[in-house]
Symmetry: C2
Subunit: 194 residues, 2 copies
Amino acid sequence: MPERGDAIRQQIIEAANRLFYQRGYNQTSFRDIADAVSIPRGNFYYYFKTKDDILYAVIDHRIESIRATLAAWDATSTDPQHKLRLFLAMLRNSDSELAQYGCPMGSLNIELGKAQPVLKAKARQMFDLFRDWLTVQLTALEVSQPQAMALHLLGRAQGIAVMAQTYNDTALLHTEIDQLVNMLNAIPAKSALP
Amino acid sequence: MPERGDAIRQQIIEAANRLFYQRGYNQTSFRDIADAVSIPRGNFYYYFKTKDDILYAVIDHRIESIRATLAAWDATSTDPQHKLRLFLAMLRNSDSELAQYGCPMGSLNIELGKAQPVLKAKARQMFDLFRDWLTVQLTALEVSQPQAMALHLLGRAQGIAVMAQTYNDTALLHTEIDQLVNMLNAIPAKSALP
DNA sequence: GTCTATAAGAAGATAGAC
DNA sequence: GTCTATCTTCTTATAGAC
């Protein structure tokens, strides 16, 4: 059952989640988060002992969010090709955020990968979720190396996000996503096989 | 003619260049750079007034380095396809740095793009150099949309760098670069045209 | 559970002696 | 040109009153 204070804890996580994305983890201070939630700075430490603790909670929050998204896609259809299009549609629908702040998973991994290996290992778990889900869909489509193809797709998405943010250009993002959709449609549907 | 102190100024730029890449711009302090060059912190301000000034100098240094690299590639061959392979060979040769710290251009743009628009505009100039050089080569190869293709290639390289760093995996990088080499070789050579 | 006050240290930056 | 001392502000974090 929910304890008292859980609501504020949740507010902190959501504010930190947004700020870490928009400013970066190291560029976000306790003060920023406390101000966003309108609680005094000192009270902060009742909920989280260290800054790393908040990051872990934020990543866990994101992981749950990703799991929910993937489950929703799985519930929408049994056609793996259609599910993969949902993945690309998500990127397309996030165009303005991606052009402003880049990919939340990618930018966090790059930042932490520079000099915070322990935190980065945690952040990588978000990538693993997508990689494994994509691998399942590509296995169902019987492509030759499903996991390599899953990593390829993730990489393409990351590259598109970096370029869209670098040039602040959603049109570039749309053009590149279209190419991925075409590539996907070129995979022979399993039902067409003997 | 070189003034006194230029040698130390150059040492500062080179140390900052390395530290910005390995730790990130915002995660590198004056103290870090001063210690790396073994000069007292106070003396630092004789050479650079603000931290932004150092970043500008570092980016200018990188831009000169990129220009020199592109000029060297241009001098090596007149065959655009061969020159494009030199671009991909550079990525392959940087595999361990890319897997550790990501792409120096991409990671800097992502970091600054979050909340430092003025600095990011400067950092984007590095991308412009590669974009324009790639566009020239692809125009010579008479591909249909040379600039879009140049941005596509840059994006592919960025995506590969993000994945290589996220999974700390140079093998993944090699696999993906091989695909780019194959894609490049599939472009019909201009000399084969009527 | 909530809040105030404040510590301890690191950050960017300055003044001024040598 | 070089260096010491110092300032202010911000950061993470704690103690303890309410």
